[in-house]
């Protein structure tokens, strides 16, 4: 006792620890450190809302100020998780409303948020500051009105890519006249027009506004008025960027943009008319982030714009940029760190643009800081992948989507095993990998052997047998999230590596060959996992045990089986056989 620091001193020291990993480590030193740490933890990250319950969180960490919660599995983004699956926010808010009156921040991803939850948030937390709803759904603009009306200290309202039922644009007018604390507003996912004068007044009276991402309904001719009122903006998202070409609109835009000396990030650009792009040229030299992924603009216009942005670090763009545009990118933007190329016509049978593997090879060669890539294309070769891997061993995220499932190396017609093998062998810091194209068990052998820092792996239409899955589960030491669809994996590798699943956040398998019987076995043997079968064909008991389940979602949890399951989700556990009969 004589040797230990007073609690206050330890608390003071712990306050410098911001990473969860460090705080978790500190908690394990001894009981008193555990106690001190839990009372002073202010930020909580819950990667899977069903891994823990609100009650457990609150019991351990009584003084939390900021929560970040993720709900549905990632494949929900591609409609693989049926409607009504879960990830409801309300139980969390209702528990936190009682226990965390000083809660300031709520950041959510893929959760179902109702207007009721939003209203409860707005009324329960007096010092509420930050609300980020990323890819969420279930609420309407009425819920936003509650937030606007009641959160007097609100700083951030970010609705990125959420699905909001847009009843009207009137919600924005609920911000009181004496509300001046706004720092960030992202309403880009909304459809309705908000009252423009209300928006103008809001922007005028919030001197700390740094981020403003408008929605499509704000026409280009109205932008100058907003920009003039917020010359301190750092991040700006336009609305629809088109109009009949009129010189006065253009010159107003040029002037307004020129006044924004701090702009670093631009986005929006729906319905772009290329003639209006040059209005931004004055700010391009400072731009580090550009999201043109909705801009249906041809390559030459894109190149014109990009060539003015030598400090570009992050570019999201459609495949209209083509190989030629990517070549230009690689020569103008030497600071590029992240590139995402989205498909303009993903369902077309024939390529509509001249974008091939060559574009990615060129960028990997020309941009020495490139570390994160998402690339949709229609052809790939092992040679190209090998070149990319050798050019860019510093990749952290590599997500390649060859649009045709099981497309082979278009030059040799071989599988792309060696290409992806080169990626994992050369890129020793790789944390995230998405595979596509024709792939055998061999690629998984390479991944299991080399991808020791890989945390998230996405697999589709790949592999030959359970051996492939076994390589991954037994070899990838850092694996946290594994999502698999349409692969011929059964239960053998799963059962052989069952304990591995407790070291991961989650496993998703859909349209594979895991039998119901195997799922039951896994559930029985691994009580600390929730083994959930998702099957819309009715109870798995109505089919033979050998019948594969439609979808399987396995995740570690301390909260026990879900209590809010819909009728197409079954938890496999000891009582499964009884409960389902």
């Amino acid at each position: 006792m004589a040797y230990s620091f007073p609690e206050e001193v330890l608390e003071y020291v712990f306050a410098f620890l911001s990473s969860d990993k460090d705080r978790n480590a500190v908690s394990l030193v001894c009981k008193s450190w555990y106690e001190i740490e839990r009372w002073c933890r202010r930020r909580i990250f819950i990667g899977n809302c069903y891994a823990v319950s609100p009650q457990i969180v609150i019991r351990r960490f009584p003084k939390v100020r900021a929560v970040k919660i993720k709900g549905k599995p990632h494949f929900a983004d591609f409609n693989l998780v049926p409607e009504g699956w879960g990830a409801y926010l309300y139980p969390w808010i209702s528990a936190m409303a009682r226990s965390y009156p000083w809660l300031e921040e709520i950041k959510l991803k893929r959760m179902v948020v109702t207007d009721e939850s939003l209203e409860l948030i707005s009324k329960s937390f007096k010092n509420f500051k930050v609300l980020v709803l990323s890819s969420c759904e279930g609420f309407t603009t009425d819920g936003l009105a509650s937030i606007a009306a009641n959160c007097r200290n609100l700083r951030e309202l970010d609705l990125r890519e959420s699905e909001v039922e847009d009843l009207s644009g009137h919600w924005l007018s609920h911000f009181p006249d004496n509300f001046t604390s706004l720092v960030s507003l992202n309403m880009s996912c909304l459809g309705s027009e908000v009252s423009f004068s209300a928006l103008e007044r809001l922007v005028s009276r919030c001197p700390n506004l740094k981020t403003l991402r408008l929605n499509r309904a704000v026409p280009v001719e109205k932008l100058p008025s907003l920009l003039r009122r917020a010359p301190q903006l750092v991040e700006f998202g336009t609305g629809a960027y088109s109009a009949e070409i009129q010189t006065d609109i253009f010159s107003n835009l040029v002037e307004a943009f020129s006044g924004c000396k701090h702009l670093k990030s631009l986005s929006g650009f729906w319905d772009v008319v290329p003639a209006y792009l040059p209005a931004m040229y004055n700010v391009c030299s400072r731009i580090t982030s550009l999201n043109l992924s909705y801009a249906t603009v041809q390559s030459p216009d894109l190149v014109e714009l990009i060539s003015q942005c030598p400090n570009l670090k992050c570019l999201w763009v459609l495949d209209y940029i083509e190989d030629a545009g990517l070549k230009a990118l690689s020569s103008y933007c030497k600071d590029l760190q992240e590139l995402r190329v989205f498909p303009s016509d993903p369902y077309g049978a024939e390529p509509n643009v001249s974008l091939t593997e060559q574009g990615l090879v060129t960028v990997s060669a020309g941009c020495p800081k490139l570390q994160s890539v998402l690339y949709f294309c229609r052809q790939m070769s092992n040679a190209a992948l090998i070149a990319i891997a050798r050019n860019r061993p510093n990749f952290i995220r590599f997500r390649l989507c060859i649009i045709e499932p099981q497309a082979p190396d278009y030059l040799t017609l071989e599988p792309l095993d060696t290409g992806f093998g080169a990626i994992v062998e050369n890129c020793k810091e790789l944390r995230r990998l998405s595979l596509s194209g024709l792939l055998t068990d061999r690629v998984f052998e390479y991944i299991g052997t080399h991808a020791k820092k890989l945390e998230m792996l996405s697999i589709a239409f790949a592999g030959d047998s359970d051996l492939g899955l076994h390589h991954v589960l037994s070899g990838c030491e850092s694996l946290r999230k594994l999502e698999i669809r349409d692969c011929p994996f059964g239960h053998k590798a799963l059962l052989a590596n069952a304990a591995k699943l407790e070291t991961m956040r989650s496993l998703w398998m859909s349209s594979c060959s895991v039998s119901y019987g195997a799922c039951k076995l896994l559930g029985q043997k691994m009580p600390r996992l929730n083994v959930e079968v998702i099957d819309e064909r009715g109870s798995p008991n109505s089919r033979p045990e050998t019948c594969p389940v439609e979808k399987l979602y396995v995740y570690r949890t301390v909260a026990g089986p879900r209590v809010d399951k819909p009728d197409f989700v079954w938890t496999m556990d000891e009582d499964a056989a009884l409960r389902l009969s």
Binding site: T296, D486, P544, E545, V549
Partner: protein, 238 residues
Amino acid sequence: MAMISEEHNKEKLGFEETELRLGLPGGGGGIVNGDFGKNTNANGKRGYLETVNLKLNLSLKETEKGENLQKEKNLISCSNNAVKPPTKTQVVGWPPVRSFRKNVMAVQKSNSEEGVGGTATFVKVSMDGAPYLRKVDLNMYKSYQDLYGALGKMFSSFTMGKCDSQGMMDFMNESKLMDLLNGSDFVPTYEDKDGDWMLVGDVPWEMFVGSCKRLRIMKGTEAIGLAPRALEKCKYRS
């Protein structure tokens, strides 16, 4: 390590009396032939070149219904195999484009004509004798008639003749065409991708939008050079 049997490769699931035993946490977590000592070890380097024996010992307790677990045929009857994926259009969630993005692109595409890549297609429109040019977005119109209506409105102050939608449609008719071309009325023409000047109306609308670079509303007498081609086409049409 023994070689994996061919049978296992072919996914025949033998559910004979077997027993699953799990390894220590943090380790490979599985048993290979009941052999703890040679268990897979997360740090160990295994000979990946050799195949691993996955002749696992599985235990499935008899369920209360006592189903016969050896009915391999059942696999086929309720097969959910995804060995061969269906065509692109039928596969749910592939390619992996978020609904949000798909919806936005779909809206933008429907706002513009197919085949022009979703961009606005502004082309200059000149009319002989008019003091200045105009520009139109061809994507705003769905047919020739639409376009003529708009052009007529745009240039109505300059024309004396029949430069309205009806007037322009007249030239689709052979005899009327000759009248037009011999008269002082106006005829719409356009420059296509190859740089040739063509009479408007010959090709399907979508093709026209894709190939038109600029429009010129010519005096009939000047358009006479385009007539032979147009006449040919009139004949084919009727």
